[in-house]
Symmetry: C2
Subunit: 225 residues, 2 copies
């Protein structure tokens, strides 16, 4: 359902060029659970932002469920993001003046869902944060903010979940609870791509992609090992 | 050099109370390297903020280098923070409209240091970010922002370094480089307290403190093992 062909992303700063992605190709079929690992600055978040329709490549092609994403308008991209993709940001991107519950509810308001508040509370329960519903982000611990970001990504029941370092601020036990949650979603057919730097987390995924300097240098199905 | 006695921190939200710290006592002698681990929400960052003179406890006593911190004015606390303590924040706290180099330089400007720019560049080199000096935070990867926060904490040559999840966004190799840097500082006599959820990182520290529900439930010197 995800097909990337020779993706390039270049940032220009004055007369300098940063090649964040330097020719990335890969495909993920529906229901696959993939980990992406690689050094800091190797292009993982840049790749995730393009897959998540949050950013456009400098060149290359992205086919999502058979359609060429590059011909979509910004409005069409926003609709795809809202309907099909759940994105857990590396830096959470929570709205500072809304409560945790309001943050989780937000994606449902776009689709005029009638039971948004109830579904948001249920998502908060899935990440064990029921009793922090009315705290604002600055009244939450780092790992609690991270879990609010995860709950928000799941509340629309997306078919694709993209998680950028979802356990970076979580103790091992809470991190395992989140991975269990991701496994449950995967068993229901959700396609997952998880960026992580922790080998224990990557080990939960059958397929592991390694990035370096804007390129994919390895792409292994660990069940073949 | 750090002595905490029965620290309590209570947040009041309407008629509800959150006991973030529930009677914490411990002491660290000069030159000690301590890891603090514990579940998400157990009070680690709250404790670090009090040790770092960024926050005051609801009750309890904090003696820093023999002086009672609770009698200090806000200005005196700011001076201690600037002169003696380097703090790596869990969420980095970088100024978004300044470059990485300017962010690292900032603590030196308070003390009217004459070679601030040079020292800032040298700190950037220590975390391998020389070639990102003129990027702003939103032009950096998550792990690059984290390393800018680390460089900023070290640029004043503090005697105490408090690092809250300093490797949460770093790949294993970069994380090990940062721990090596911390070890080098420790060998020069710097006192370090590192909050981490990664057992590999905690293993670098001779002393490990475990927190749960606002209390210290274990405090071990691993060299006694
Ligand atoms: N301003 C605040 N108002 C109300 N509650 C707060 C506030 N700040 C923190 N808390 C609560 O205090 C508790 C401890 O928070 P703290 O940030 O110290 O946890 P932590 O151990 O650092 O967690 P993590 O590993 O997730 O970063 C949490 O349950 C949090 O929700
Ligand atoms: N807006 C931008 N302008 C210039 N350079 C950028 C910009 N955004 C990212 N970069 C650079 O692109 C490279 C890739 O960034 P990216 O965020 O994809 O890395 P990453 O693999 O996610 O790293 P990390 O593991 O540290 O999160 C980095 O070297 C970064 O400095
Ligand atoms: Mg990243
Ligand atoms: Mg914390």
């Amino acid at each position: 359902c995800i097909e990337l062909h020779e993706l390039v992303k270049i940032y220009r700063m004055g007369d300098q060029e940063v090649h964040a992605l330097d020719g990335v190709s890969f495909s993920a079929i529906k229901g696959e659970m993939t980990a992406i690992i690689g050094a800091s600055g190797s292009g993982k978040s840049t790749l995730m932002n393009i897959i998540g329709c949050l950013d456009r490549p400098t060149s290359g092609r992205y086919m999502l469920d058979g359609e060429d994403v590059s011909v979509f308008s910004d409005n069409q991209l926003a609709r795809i993001r809202n309907k099909r993709i759940g994105f857990v940001f590396q830096n959470f991107n929570l709205l500072p003046r809304n409560t945790a519950l309001e943050n989780v509810e937000m994606p449902l308001l776009y689709s005029a869902s009638h039971n948004a508040r109830h579904r948001a509370m249920e998502a908060m329960e899935r990440v064990n944060l029921r009793d922090r519903a009315h705290h604002e982000p600055n009244q939450l611990s780092g790992g609690q903010r991270q879990r609010v970001a995860i709950a928000r990504a799941l509340v629309t029941n997306p078919t694709i979940v993209l998680a950028d370092e979802p356990t970076g601020n979580l103790d091992s036990r809470t991190g395992n609870e989140i991975m269990q949650l991701f496994h449950d979603l995967n068993e229901q057919g959700v396609t997952l791509i998880i960026v992580t730097h922790e080998p224990d987390i990557a080990a939960h995924c059958r397929r592991i992609i390694i990035m370096r300097d804007g390129q994919i240098i390895d792409d292994k199905d660990t069940s073949d090992a």
